[in-house]
């Protein structure tokens, strides 16, 4: 029997939807013109790029297409937003950045780099479910604060931040608000104007678009230093020959996502809830990480006590289940997930974490298969865990 493939890592990346791929195809071989060229092969590319820009502007509620700038990734958009803002504000004395303790590395590492460069950074704490308190944002604002960067929804534990309240505060104090919406876009409705945002990052491969393309929304009037200098592309703000096929694919994918959003989130949140309830009822010593409400619909994050995440992932993989973990062993860093640590987990519990993120093709049967597999694997790993042995012995003695 062939083993099934059950992909439960949509937060890491998605496949390209066939309709999206169809939309991209002409821009590889036939419509290959440089979007900056004068002649008609180039004009077709230019038109495609501008239509994509307008579509994305519509999808996130931007006032004009001209507020959308294409980048090579969500990471580049995050880097540009924050570095661009503080470099542009430096001459006027701006030197302070406010962010949270659970940002994606694209924001976190950018802030750490800027700290080395002499800027001040406040990393706001979060509560045990991963929420930033808007009052903390307000208290942290100083006269030299340039920008507040808080993610829309967390990639590991799914926490959806009180973005609107934060936007009101930044507006009131006249500081810029950047929002990393890479996990939110395509799953949660976004309206940059309603939310009071100045800068917003998205990444195509999180909503069934191609990898290697992202976008930064820059509200009209916001001045950023360029991150990538060179030619006049993207109205002189982001140099480099336009990735026409990628841009077209990204717009198509976001449009599809928005058209089907209700149905999609309904489906994946039902699967997620079912998985959560079954696992928590059938497997002991499991902790749910992140909140129950105000959570990304497809995100489930659990810690299995006494076992380590990479082993869990490998054994799940053997059964065809693709997931991810906040364990240090699978992340390549010495410490387990900074997000799990920030919500107060011990190292040990954090190492035993598993992230399951549901998507389009998952079914109820997948969930049943997953829970059976997990039950077996967790029991097996615990039976070989010295931590579990200690725990059982300690319980016997009392």
């Amino acid at each position: 029997m062939e083993k099934p493939v059950i992909y439960l890592d949509h937060a890491a990346t998605t496949y390209v939807k066939p309709e999206v791929f169809e939309a991209m195809k002409p821009y590889f071989i036939e419509q290959y013109g440089n979007a900056s060229s004068l002649y008609d092969v180039g004009r077709a590319s230019r038109k495609a790029v501008e239509e994509a820009r307008a579509a994305i502007a519509r999808c996130i509620g931007a006032a004009e297409p001209g507020e959308i700038y294409f980048t090579g990734s969500g990471t580049e958009a995050d880097n540009w937003a924050i570095k661009g803002a503080v470099y542009a504000a430096r001459k006027k004395g701006g030197k302070h950045i406010i962010t949270s303790a659970i940002e994606h590395p694209a924001v976190m590492e950018t802030c750490k780099f800027l700290k080395k460069e002499g800027f001040d950074v406040t990393f706001l704490p979060v509560d045990s479910e991963g929420f930033v308190n808007p009052e903390d944002v307000e208290k942290a604002i100083r006269p030299d604060t340039v920008i507040v960067s808080i993610m829309y929804a967390n990639n590991e534990i799914g926490t959806i931040q009180p973005i609107k309240a934060i936007g009101e505060i930044t507006r009131k104090h006249g500081v810029l608000f950047h929002c990393d919406a890479v996990q939110a876009a395509g799953t949660i409705p976004i309206d940059v104007r309603d939310l009071g945002m100045d800068l917003l990052s998205i990444s195509s491969h999180k909503f069934y678009g191609p990898k290697g393309v992202g976008a930064l929304y820059i509200r009209k009037g916001v001045r950023l230093e360029n991150l990538i200098h060179g030619g006049h592309q993207e109205r002189g703000k982001r140099a480099g020959t336009e990735n026409v096929a990628g841009i077209v694919g990204m717009a198509k994918a976001l449009e599809l996502a928005i058209a089907n959003m209700e149905q999609y989130t309904d489906k994946i949140s039902k699967l997620r809830d079912k998985a959560r309830d079954l696992i928590l009822s059938r497997i002991p010593y499991v902790r749910l990480n992140g909140p129950v409400e105000n959570r990304l619909p497809g995100n489930l994050n659990l810690s299995f006590q006494f076992i380590e995440g990479e082993s869990l992932l490998l054994l799940l993989d053997m059964k065809g289940i693709k997931a991810s973990s906040g364990s240090a062993c699978s992340s390549g860093s010495l410490d387990p997930s900074h997000v799990l640590m920030a919500i107060g987990l011990t190292h040990e519990i954090a190492h035993g974490s598993l992230r399951l993120s549901f998507g389009e093709h998952n079914t109820e049967a997948d969930v049943d298969y997953l829970v059976d597999a997990l039950e077996e694997i967790v029991a097996r790993l615990r039976s070989m865990s010295p931590l579990y042995e200690d725990f059982v012995k300690a319980n016997k003695q009392t």
Binding site: P105, I307, C329, S331, G332, H347, E348, E389
Partner: protein, 151 residues
């Protein structure tokens, strides 16, 4: 990223378990770094007649534990002491750079169990094993991060 041998020893680990009346027990690593290895030895006339382990850790940690127990079974204490982390790695057809520390942990677990044996039997030893110092920056883990999850 793992060799077939590593995967085999991870999927079908040899010698998992406890030895109730072990002659030497050693535990190294800590939960902070995500790896704990506990090794049980049965020793008769200076020969390791049985070895078992329990491990909390990644695939490489399980595989190196498994391989280490295989390598020392039937060996004399002296021979067992000569088994380095490199020998464990080689027996597994290598480990990714970020996982080399696991083989070090396996070497240390053997050393710790043997030390426990000596201590119980009032035997001398040249060097006292102090236990793994904790997060093993020293064993190459800190600067070699090739297989990363930065999504």
């Amino acid at each position: 990223m793992y060799s077939e041998k590593v995967m085999d020893h991870f999927m079908n680990p040899r010698n998992v378990g406890e030895i109730e009346d072990a002659d030497g027990v050693g535990q190294v690593g800590n939960a902070k770094c995500g790896d704990i290895m506990k090794m049980y030895l049965k020793i008769e006339d200076g020969v390791i007649v049985d070895a078992k382990f329990k491990t909390f850790g990644c695939g490489a940690a399980v595989a190196t534990s498994s391989m280490a127990t295989e390598l020392i079974k039937g060996k004399t204490i002296k021979e067992a002491e000569m088994i380095t982390n490199k020998a464990v790695m080689e027996a597994l057809d290598g480990l990714p750079p970020a996982k080399v520390h696991c083989s070090v942990l396996a070497e240390e677990a053997i050393a710790a169990a043997l030390q426990d044996y000596r201590a119980r039997h009032g035997l001398d030893s040249d060097s006292t094993y102090e236990g793994c110092s904790g997060c093993c920056g020293g064993c190459g883990r800190l600067d070699q991060h090739d297989e990363n999850n930065g999504e």
